[in-house]
């Protein structure tokens, strides 16, 4: 079964010579017809002894192929033509066999024959990911005893620890060795972990980096309720129908200060504040997906403002060009 998944050549690259690569589907729920898509790149050093590492990008709703495999830590990076590949000088499969998973179903090429499966949360995502790993070990039993690490970034700050807990609990309740996984550790980068702490961190970071004014920073800190409304849920739609007189003015003030923060920040690359934005497409899809999931947080609103500004600039540039011509 594994050999059917082997990839011997990559378009725009050629034959794969220094490591083995596999990709395909593993069913995680046969009744629902739910299957997750993976790409697996064996270690080019010592696949027998090196650890096995699962990598998950976030969103929620983003592909680990687009981020992890093709942009960050896989063996290839795309050239600007979008048709050919170049070598990544620091691929993680120099040190580990790396498994990139599109999760949950409906991300990338992962699918379900049950349309309601599109409604999903952390519990089923973790359960499906564990089912995927158990299925993977059946297809690649030679990796069953390798140390297993779970890794990822952004919303994988939820995926990874939840999956780790699912595996730890699963190992405890396993009825046979087939139901166990040799989990050794986890790695998470810039993880969404606790919305109240993470959002306060974002506001402080913007102020510390001289990107927003003292008044705006203090206005957000004073008016936005980080503890009770999570990632700064702001705006009329989150007010209870009988909004009390004490809450509503603060929510409105919070909203106003967040708008001011967006204006002060400008169309910045929220992923990397000192890097350029992609013009004209300033939107980084992973951040946008997180924004959709989080709602109108200061960070989320800022990204949207960046996109809107970028679009406006593009339009103005286009209008200007039209006038000139």
């Amino acid at each position: 079964a594994a050999l059917q998944d082997q990839v011997t050549s990559m378009p725009g690259w050629g034959p794969l010579k220094s490591f083995k690569m596999f990709s395909g589907y593993i069913t995680v729920d046969a009744a629902a017809g739910r299957a997750l898509f993976y790409v697996f790149v064996e270690s080019e050093s010592d696949p027998v002894a090196d650890p096995l590492m699962l990598w998950l990008n976030g969103g929620p709703g983003c592909s680990s192929l687009g981020g992890g495999f093709m942009s960050e830590l896989g063996p290839f990076l795309p050239n600007k033509d979008g048709h050919t590949l170049k070598a990544n000088p620091y691929p993680w499969n120099k040190k580990a066999s790396v498994l990139f998973l599109e999760s949950p179903a409906f991300v990338g090429w992962s699918y379900s024959n049950t349309s309601s499966d599109a409604i999903v949360g952390d519990a089923r995502t973790a359960k499906d990911s564990r089912a995927f790993l158990l299925g993977f070990m059946e297809r690649f039993p030679q990796f069953k005893s390798n140390d297993l690490y779970l890794s990822g970034e952004s919303y994988a700050g939820h995926y990874v620890p939840n999956l780790a807990r699912e595996i730890v609990r699963g190992n405890r309740g396993a009825r046979s060795p087939r139901e166990t996984l040799n989990l050794k550790g986890i790695l998470v980068g810039n993880p969404l972990t606790d919305t109240a702490v993470d959002n306060m961190g974002a506001v402080d970071f913007w102020w510390h980096h001289a990107m927003i004014s003292d008044e705006t920073a203090e206005g957000i800190r004073s008016n936005c309720d980080f503890n009770n409304i999570g990632p700064l849920l702001i705006g009329e739609d989150v007010l209870p129908t009988t909004a009390d007189a004490l809450t509503k003015p603060r929510v409105i003030a919070c909203d106003e200060f967040c708008d001011r923060a967006m204006s002060e920040l400008g169309p910045i690359n929220i992923y990397d504040i000192y890097a350029d934005v992609c013009i004209p497409k300033a939107a980084q899809s992973e951040a946008l997906a997180l924004t959709r999931a989080l709602g109108p947080t200061p960070a989320g609103l800022m990204i949207r403002a960046a996109v809107q500004l970028s679009s406006r600039e593009k339009q103005e540039s286009s209008n200007s060009a039209d006038s000139s011509s």
């Binding site: 059917q4 990839v7 378009p11 725009g12 969103g59 929620p60 709703g61 983003c62 592909s63 687009g66 960050e72 830590l73 795309p78 050239n79 600007k80 979008g82 170049k86 070598a87 991300v107 090429w109 599109a118 999903v120 949360g121 952390d122 700050g157 620890p161 939840n162 780790a164 730890v168 989990l183 550790g185 986890i186 790695l187 998470v188 980068g189 810039n190 993880p191 969404l192 972990t193 919305t195 702490v197 993470d198 306060m200 974002a202 402080d204 970071f205 913007w206 990107m211 990632p231 910045i268 990397d272 890097a275 934005v277 992609c278 992973e286 951040a287 997906a289 997180l290 999931a293 989080l294």
Partner: protein, 159 residues
């Protein structure tokens, strides 16, 4: 100054290039994917099809970490690119510190193979936190050498 010959340079438009590549029929065939030329949708890096539980997005993961740490069986590395503006290093330091774990090795700089400061690190019982200097949200992409060094050190169980 971005050139194809220098893959370490940050390309803010990489998502567009990846999306072009992943939608090539020959790529989908090579990867054994259900081909989107047959199915009525394009491969996209992030999808709006998934309707993720908002309450789960808002839920804190700190109780999960507490359970994992109590199991005593896992090695944990939390890393953070220090110029990410959406999930910045400031908040991550706070929640890591808030776990209240005993400190094994105090805050200090760590050096990359080129002897530059790659970031800073603090080691707790059961968890290591490391910043990666001048890395954004996608640390392995923006600072590949530093991240690879961090990865290697962690997997080798080196300090």
């Amino acid at each position: 100054s971005l050139t194809d010959e220098d893959p370490s340079k940050y390309d803010p438009c990489v998502d567009n290039e990846v999306e072009t590549y992943m939608n090539l029929p020959e790529v989908q065939k090579a990867l054994h994917a259900n081909q989107t030329v047959i199915l009525p949708w394009r491969w996209t890096d992030c999808t709006e099809k998934v309707q993720y539980s908002r309450s789960d997005v808002l839920a804190s993961m700190l109780p999960v970490y507490e359970e994992l740490l109590a199991s005593g069986s896992l090695r944990i590395l939390v890393f953070s690119g220090d110029v990410d503006g959406i999930l910045p290093v400031v908040g991550t330091r706070r929640w890591v510190s808030g776990l209240g774990l005993p400190i094994k090795s105090a805050w200090r700089p760590w050096l990359s193979p080129t002897r530059q400061v790659g970031g800073h690190v603090i080691e707790y019982e059961g968890l290591i936190f490391a910043s990666v200097r001048n890395a954004g949200h996608m640390v392995p992409y923006v600072q590949p050498e530093r991240m690879f060094h961090l990865l290697t050190s962690f997997l080798n169980e080196e300090s």
